[in-house]
Symmetry: C2
DNA sequence: TCTTGATTTAAACACTTATTTGAAACGCCT
DNA sequence: AGGCGTTTCAAATAAGTGTTTAAATCAAGA
């Protein structure tokens, strides 16, 4: 078992447990025993539990954000080339589709999305700030694009609505379809594809509605 | 200091700390020292930490839900009386306005709304289920009303969108305006009233958009 | 006033927590 | 083979966790 092996196994286990049980409800003992490594190795490789969380988030979020950024920049570039403003729908898709692809790419990625979906409303500042610092640049880029796409809306209102949209999306990413809604008296939930399609429609309509 | 005094002080302190620090990150010692009561009194009065959380949630959510229910039933009744379907906007307002009024009624209520706003995506089943069981009836009532208001939408899609709407609303309730968005390069956030008004517009537009 | 039940209190309980330590084991290069 | 830096390991540390206990305190009824 090489060094890299141990580190990755810790990251994988921590990701899974942080996502499913919550950060403060997950002990290092639970992580190391799931990863089948020694308890002390997490402090040896990462320094502390907080730093482990940081590493868990950065491992996936840095590459994901890079993809999102190139997608959004692609939409902006093509619009500029054609001499027309980008559409809000294209910008939203550029933001959310990489997230979905990534989420379906592996079980660990799925857990990870739950984790960051919850990070926005995380009470613990350590957790929240760690996440926020990494996504702020993307939010800013998306906001800039939406200002071009929807010039009829004032920037302040647009920013608020972007906040709503991000809230909705992370909520859905985080929970998929909620268990409560699996109820005999209610219709059966939609499949994954339709769900996402509806999600885009929903936030798109919300963003574009007149002031 | 009477029995009732001790109990409410524990509830108030627990509410504040659960909301601001998270359930698992809040110790009974932190609660009892903030409430200035003896450590053992929480187990004496409530039985356990889990039961205390349940009590914290029930104390506020039961009356709040009662108000929401009468408001929604009022909208439905008036529509029936006038022989026209209720509007989605009225139903949404009937759901969210009591929440807002309640949130502004006291600092403790504000903390409480943060707490339940996060409960939907709470990883811990104990916490989540405790909350979900109490709000399911309201969700069902709201859904029934929306089916009448928007008959052109299939129930399955409407349910999904209601889920989006609730996600958005609890997200906003929980965080108010996010600290990240207080950034020099971004417009200053809207005031509370405009924020809520925009929130209603946003989810209303999302709900009503064609399939 | 004395008794009875409810409440409060300090202390202890039995675990779990994150983190540290020093020795053992490892791979790797000369 | 021997030495060296890196990694693993069991064990211990010190502090924190929810919960329980038994004595002390209180309010009120007989």
């Amino acid at each position: 078992m090489t060094q890299c092996d141990t580190k990755t196994r810790i990251l994988d286990s921590a990701e899974q447990l942080f996502a499913r049980e919550g950060f403060h409800n997950t002990s290092l003992r639970a992580i190391t025993s799931l990863a089948d490594v020694n308890l002390a190795s997490v402090n040896y490789h990462f320094g502390s539990k907080d730093a482990l969380l940081q590493a868990v988030i950065e491992r996936r979020l840095l590459p994901l954000n890079q993809i999102r950024e190139t997608q959004i920049r692609g939409v902006l570039a093509q619009a500029k080339e054609e001499g027309i403003p980008p559409t809000a729908a294209d910008l939203l898709r550029a933001f959310i589709e990489p997230t979905l692809e990534f989420r379906n790419s592996s079980p660990g990625a799925h857990d990870f999305i739950s984790l960051i979906g919850r990070s926005l409303s995380e009470p613990d500042e350590t957790v929240r700030n760690c996440f926020l610092a990494l996504v702020l640049p993307i939010f800013q880029l998306l906001f800039k694009g939406l200002c071009e796409a929807l010039p009829q809306l004032s920037p302040a209102i647009l920013l608020t609505r972007l906040q709503f949209a991000i809230g909705t999306m992370s909520h859905v990413m985080c929970m998929g379809s909620l268990s409560v809604f699996n109820h005999p008296e209610l219709p059966t939930p939609l499949d994954q594809n339709t769900l996402i399609q509806q999600l885009l429609k929903f936030v798109h309509a919300g963003l574009e509605t007149p002031e």
